[in-house]
Symmetry: D2
């Protein structure tokens, strides 16, 4: 992703942004869960770095819900004191990057609200494509909205359906009849933890277990972090309801035939952490595969394969394994460049890329380099990195990209630049090669994607413009201030 | 108020707390209003020091609403940078002390929300006595609540009524059919500024004007601060709608006969700023009157009349004028004792009262002192102050209180200690005198209240237990977390 | 002081600034003193609001010194946590307004340093007139300076003298042979608390006692606040050394004949708190006297005497007592206008004075007013206040000032505007009257000052240009950055 | 370094701590340098994360020095506003981890002081072994110390020598006759930038150039970041003085014969950034070499070589290259775990290592793993990581360490745990292997160090106990509070 990598704090390079991470936990033995939510969110920090929040409740006793949210990283928003004052055996957490709804504290999640049955906390990852219509309908019946996030639309539907439903999960099910688009949900009700995934399964959600404690998380890496075992993925369209009384109860009434699923392929390519498994496929493994296919389909004679840190590294390793060309390290990344980093101005002699990445001259001087990145969005960073390698003495620079050219907007939870800003828009691969100044350039072939994820059905709308659902006819970015 | 005075920052002494100040402004010429809201809120800071907020909107163009709220004083929450980024010709502001709804940032006002007609901002001063019932009814129809403040209940009713109303003021009027209790409201709709006061007129609200700019404010002192003229009070039960197209339009359909009004008498005694006029009566003047009546009804031979700063000073002046006994200053108040002041612990040699107040020995030594305070709540502070005067050499200390004994709870927007904590509960005046250690003690007679405010009808529920509305049958403090 | 009063936070009005408050304490029984320093500093906050600091040490055991300093008010710089982590039975504190040395955290006091005998903490109030020469001399012998405050010069001299002195107080005495100007010092050495006052006694310093704990403080008001008794003033030129072994030991070798003393008369007029006594004279009492003299020397027929809050109130009371004209209140001050208050811009419709002060119309309308202030510096505020009274309906406004016209710079610890900015510079009293728009104007006569302070010798350099010491020939404001 | 790597923020794992980074810059064309110091410090952040600071001066005009220092990372301490208010064409910067002198804001560097010739700013990396004696000597001549850092001792010597020296560099030279130990210094005087390195060259320092701007930096990586060219290293014992008038002037009078040099070998092994060159040797290259020697000296049959991120990666690559065993990635590091990360308590189910590192199961399952780390300090982290690999399915775990066993304290600028805490203390390699649970364990042989750094003389005191200078006889950690 042009040097912008999953591990990087904030949008320092011009890559894609993931949208959100969700986490839920319920300790049937009544232990406090706040700190486990904290560690879980740390493991999901790469999915959203703008704001975060935790809500915990007590299923026993006064059932008071304690919430803390703020702008910034999990590290910054939570102090030991805050965490210690959050008591309860059930909790949800959220890390957010805003794709719909502006970036303000009011829009931080989880959304905590009182409704007919007590307090509900909702954490949501994804984008509803019919949110504007649903908001209007609700407003026509007298609803008020205090945020500009889709989660409030979802919460309203759950609350309204709850009036005539036997349970919160039934209300969620009824709400799913109305909401359309990408969503992985974790809902904390007074005595149940509910998870749900849209019928296409755009965004991941999985179930974990640690002794008598149950967990819902966007990615399995969060389970490993808190010492929990992976139980299984929530299936596309499935609702799971977790409670001591009934254990894990599954409702698959919204599930579509398996081949209709449309997982976001970019979760594998770039968004998810390599140590996560999504729907049975290892993210790391899929990236190794992508690298191997690149080596098969677009071979080139060279001395060294390197990844653009850190998201290009796995594919670089795959390329090396397949081609036999040695794998190496060409870059040193400065990991102290955080969100509050002061970007160089035009008048400065420094550049952002230069401040963030250095080249290891001894590793590349005099060598023909194959440089692997996961994607090219605007191309400005790739251009600079190719030049840095040449300045360091690389004799040739061949770029390989472990995804197809990015050409169409995404309506399902990814923050995509306007089409005109995409380097692949209206350009051939040869055009792009010239812009970035590489000696050769090749992308992963579209037909390799299916094999890359072991045959799982996926959404490739951003490459093909063909979406599993009709794209929305109006702006869904959710700036509803009038 | 036992040394706790209106001007004091935070609840350092154990007095009563006012609840809120509201402010609204609309510049028909399109000028920016944010800084005038800021100065207006500074003038209303005494009405609430827990949190504050401003929302401004543009009646022209994109009609985007900008909001900033936070915990703390107006001075602390707003920086020049924040204020400069708030653009718009219409705005509302709020200062809050929580009487219902817990003290959290989520509960700060104004409440800003999107509804069928755009963005609404609601600022509210008062307490609804039927808020719990109204919340339940709303929840049964699928409403969700994100705060625990009454204002959200009011906003919901306005939003629901707006669906079938011709205008926002009509929706407010319909909402007023449902909500009961004390409220002064300022509502900012996309193109109108609306003010409303409950039919009993518990809390004040007035209209001001500066060139082509119209203002609504809890107290007239805020008008003077921003250089505006006082136009008139909003009448109990009146709704005013302000817009360039129609000017000030009044709806008096909710008004009761004038003698039914029930203004909070404590606004005159203690809450309001002395430079305010409420419903035609000068707050300062009413306090002078109270002091005069005390001198008539409870005379005593003495050398000096002093006020407990600062709320006792006006009554002390009145007492002096009537009795001919010289007025003087006995106390120096440390005005640097802010909200974040570290209170002495039991183990400290210092005491809170001592840190906040000093006695001017040369003023009181060898003298018989008449000390005037506006009220006695728990009595602990009065006790200390009497002792401090004696320690400084006063030969006699006669306490006079410019209000009747405080005996009953208030349900209409005042934060009242539990009855058992009130010193006057189950005690005669002579009992109280002994507790505080004064040589004599007298309260303002109940029958003087009417004259004190020039014959205006008022609520004296806290003295008599007789309320203009039936008190609520359930807890209305609004902690709805379940 | 033109509405700028001692109690006001920060330089919101354009008055004079006091420079510093010092505080020292030693508990011979080994109790912790940090919180008492905190409360003492709160009582001395009016002497300096830019920065503050506390250093405490353990005279027993490891003798570690803990220091905390910061920009801002005592309330803001100290949290309960910080205070609780400051352990020790001996301590010094300081509140600062910068008259020499720029306003930065580096320059906050007390200055804590290690020298030959351990750790020394120095708190200083005043200005040395030979600081630049002394700095140069020290630099020529290899000294380095990390601050731009005089206290570092003093500390150096103590440290150098200490090498050949038998005790810290002897070193202080030797240092006093070199330093010239205004200083009240509190020095904490590993096992002694030392206080010293310059031979002219420009700035106050007094001794207090609470059980077995000894206190040094700029003003006696700080003793009252912490529940200590006033023992006596440190005499001009005296050094006192306080230790369990020797009690209070006095060294008067630097004392001049009593008639040579040159106390700052502005301490009585404006700087000190009214509840303080300085060198046997009540500050409050001296202000009452000033008012009386004004009434004798400059009588006028009127209906009401009012003070500009709060520093004009005592003189107004004196005027009223002498003249028989009733005393009253004309102004309401907004005490929420703190240091961080956003001042109105030129483009605003509001003005600083208007935001800070309101007039009580009912108190002044139709009346002839005598308005008393302690001084006029630039005159801009007086001008506005006179106008505000007239706008409120006062038929006449007669201004009386409880000090002579301010005409010359001060080199002894007061922050004085440049001469050209002083309204009295090159203007007759009649000129000034016209500028401020009063119906009449009179200042306190110079010859009344002596009586006002009971015959104590004082410095009147700012009125007469005659100083007890030759003024410095170079800039002593201490901006030594080169 | 047991998972603690150079890039990691703060001491989250129990590794060694580097002490400081220094940076100086002088633009002969008069351009502002503050932002370049900022970017330079970002590149030196790995050398110290406790506090940082920048001082800039104007060599022309008023020559005012502006300083900003604070606790925390460069990112946190500097805002755009602060940086924009720092004007000047000459500047120094510092990043600090405290090895001597406690961790407080007072001790942050650069130390800025006024002395005979104006303002001096001193930035220092290293530890003086005779600092306590020098402090005492200075104190006996009346010196005062406001910090507990060695830099103040150095500054004093420069200031004292400056009195009788012709230039600041001559004063530095004279000071170097007295100070002993490890130091790389950057000194900003009013019109010169001076760099100096102790005669043994313990800590690095190099010179760079960008157009007409000259730079001094701890490591060459900082030159690359700001777009400057590497000119040369400052030699051990050399003083360089940089000014427009004389260019770069070198004084080698303190240089020892080249073979006497004693560079810290841990700079190559772990402290320095891999993209730096120190004294002609590539840090990255030396780590590759270390890995190769490990493969030669301690071969083992296995399926995969992995590095403990990130400092073990280069040596792992070297091992792979030499052995032919494939290089791979076994760990995912969570780079959001910053300094403010809340560490798991004993009662938590999470562990620090687990939160920071995850294992890529698919990469290691069923494989025999060679795991390379740069060092083992306490061993607790290695123990956990070995276990994590086994839990992920590794069939064998062979640990190789790219440095000899760490056995003795360091007195030259490294923060070393007490000897008893070192795992190698009193243990054989076989003992250690058992403690950490590896199948085999081998360290780099001592005799390989020389080849690893191309024959450069180095200090190996921490491995051998043989130091180039006699170790100090008293505690040099600099806690001088008494």
């Amino acid at each position: 992703m042009e040097g912008k990598n999953r591990m990087e704090q904030g949008n320092v390079l011009d890559g894609l942004h993931e949208e959100c991470g969700v986490f839920g936990i319920y300790d049937f033995d009544g232990g406090n869960v706040a700190s486990s939510v904290y560690y879980g969110l740390l493991a999901l920090q790469h999915r959203g770095q703008e704001s975060c929040g935790i809500a915990v409740g007590d299923t026993d006793g006064p059932r008071k819900v304690t919430t803390h949210k703020g702008m910034g990283l999990v590290n910054e928003v939570f102090t030991p004191e805050i965490l210690e004052n959050m008591h309860g055996d059930i909790g949800v957490g959220h890390t957010r990057y805003s794709t719909a709804g502006s970036s303000t504290r009011e829009n931080a999640q989880p959304l905590v609200l009182n409704y007919i049955k007590g307090t509900l906390a909702v954490a949501h990852n994804g984008n509803l494509i019919n949110a504007p219509q649903l908001r209007r309908e609700l407003e026509y019946s007298g609803a008020i909205f205090q945020t500009t996030i889709d989660s409030e639309v979802i919460a309203y539907h759950i609350a309204r359906e709850r009036v005539n439903s036997a349970s919160v999960e039934e209300a969620v099910s009824h709400a799913m009849n109305k909401i359309q688009g990408a969503y992985s949900l974790v809902v904390m009700s007074p005595r149940k933890l509910v998870g749900a995934r849209d019928p296409y399964g755009f965004r991941p959600l999985c179930i974990g277990k640690r002794d008598n404690t149950y967990i819902l998380a966007s990615e399995s890496c969060a389970l490993q972090t808190i010492g929990a075992e992976f139980v299984r993925d929530v299936e596309p369209g499935e609702i799971v309801s977790i409670s001591p009384k009934y254990g894990i109860v599954s409702d698959k009434s919204h599930c579509l035939p398996k081949e209709k699923a449309a997982r976001c392929i970019f979760e594998y390519i770039y968004f998810a952490r390599p140590d996560s498994h999504i729907d049975g496929v290892s993210v790391y493994g899929s990236r190794i595969e992508a690298g191997k296919y690149l080596a098969m389909d677009s071979p080139v004679d060279a001395d060294l394969v390197v990844g653009v840190p850190e998201s290009g590294n796995a594919a670089a390793l795959g390329y090396s394994l397949q081609s036999g060309i040695p794998y190496g390290t060409a870059f040193v990344k400065n990991s102290y460049i955080g969100r509050t980093f002061i970007k160089p101005k035009q008048s400065n002699r420094e550049s952002s890329v230069q401040v963030k990445l250095s080249v290891l001259k001894e590793a590349v001087a005099g060598k023909r380099i194959i440089m692997i990145d996961d994607s090219i969005v605007r191309g400005t960073t790739s251009d600079r990195i190719v030049k840095m390698l040449r300045d360091a003495g690389a004799t040739e620079v061949h770029m390989r990209v472990s995804s197809p050219p990015f050409l169409y907007p995404c309506y399902f939870g990814t923050d995509v630049p306007a089409r005109e800003q995409l380097i692949a828009y209206n350009r051939t691969v040869e055009d792009i090669r010239q812009v970035i100044g590489a000696d050769s350039l090749a992308y992963l072939k579209l037909e390799r994607l299916s094999d890359m994820v072991g045959g799982l059905p996926y959404c490739s709308g951003c490459f093909t413009g063909k979406y599993p659902l009709d794209p929305p006819t109006e702006d869904i970015r959710g700036d509803y201030d009038k």
